[in-house]
Assembly symmetry: C2
């Protein structure tokens, strides 16, 4: 146990190692507390993300199932995606919900936000709650997206988040935050 | 809404773009379903991780606070780290708990596991529950680690996970899974 709070390092600069469409891999130079040595740490620079817990008037949560290239497997998740430059998290959540599922409308609010991984990433993931989501229009998938849209009663979806049937950590966190706020 | 379940792509190979101590950035070649085109997707290859919810005999949860190089900020989290090659997740959780906090012992079980990010990562994060954790020995920090160890009653820590005082998504998911299992 330290005597007190750890001292922050001082960020001195960064260089981009690889730049891709979804993230940049950077090496960030930090100086050790107390004017110590300078060391480099790998940091994934990515735009903020948004995940959406969308509940229908009947109390079901809208889910998407799609092939994921990281896990090389199908994954059942809440809708979500990248927030565009300057875009409001709530607006981004509604956009992603509408594009991925064709649902929208309802009462929209922020449920919370998390750091996907503060050890190696610099971004946030915002959780948006949509209450009373209804079909609003056609879906509009990105290239390479093929999405199965489904819904199930909130208690059942919370059970999937708790049992491991839903594995994406950000979907799990969003759903459990929603469940805690509603005692589902 | 698709007629049915999305078809998986076929993984055909990969190349490493950058290799670092904590992760490799790779480009993975996938063939589109139905013998379609081959496209490349960025995937972060990392070892599996472990996060530990350790509860003392008095019902407090053990927390660590440290500077994080991704977020450039101090972060309050549950203990955790990388699982070594061939290491059992439960053993890794106990090792990380002991190294980071000097606590150990108790009854150990798996609380669950999540994909940190199946869209762009290929690894799992296992959640280990330690019930009845007690001081067992000296801490053994990695180079560059400076950790403040603390503890607080479970209900208070769950409140921090729900309110945003704890931001790391994997800590939030682990704590809310624990809270749901105990109705804390």
């Amino acid at each position: 146990m330290t005597a007190g709070e750890p001292s922050p390092w001082v960020r001195e600069g960064e260089r981009t190692l690889v730049s891709t469409k979804v993230l940049d891999l950077t090496s960030v130079r930090y100086r050790q507390p107390g004017a110590g040595a300078v060391k480099e740490f790998v940091v994934i620079h990515a735009p903020d993300w948004v995940n959406v817990v969308a509940v229908t008037p009947g109390g079901s949560i809208i889910l998407v199932r799609q092939f994921r290239f990281g896990s090389n497997a199908l994954s059942l998740e809440v809708p979500g995606g990248m927030i565009e430059e300057g875009e409001d998290p709530v607006a981004a959540g509604m956009r992603e919900l509408e594009e991925e599922t064709g649902y929208g409308g309802g009462k929209v609010s922020l449920l919370g936000k998390v750091r996907p991984n503060p050890a190696i990433q610099d971004n946030w993931c915002h959780f948006v709650l949509v209450e009373g989501a209804v079909p609003t229009g056609p879906m509009d998938w990105d290239e390479d997206e093929d999405i199965e849209v489904s819904m199930a009663p909130a208690a059942q979806v919370l059970g999937w988040a708790r049992s491991g049937a839903i594995t994406h950590s950000l979907s799990v966190a969003a759903l459990l935050l929603f469940g805690g706020s509603r005692r589902v």
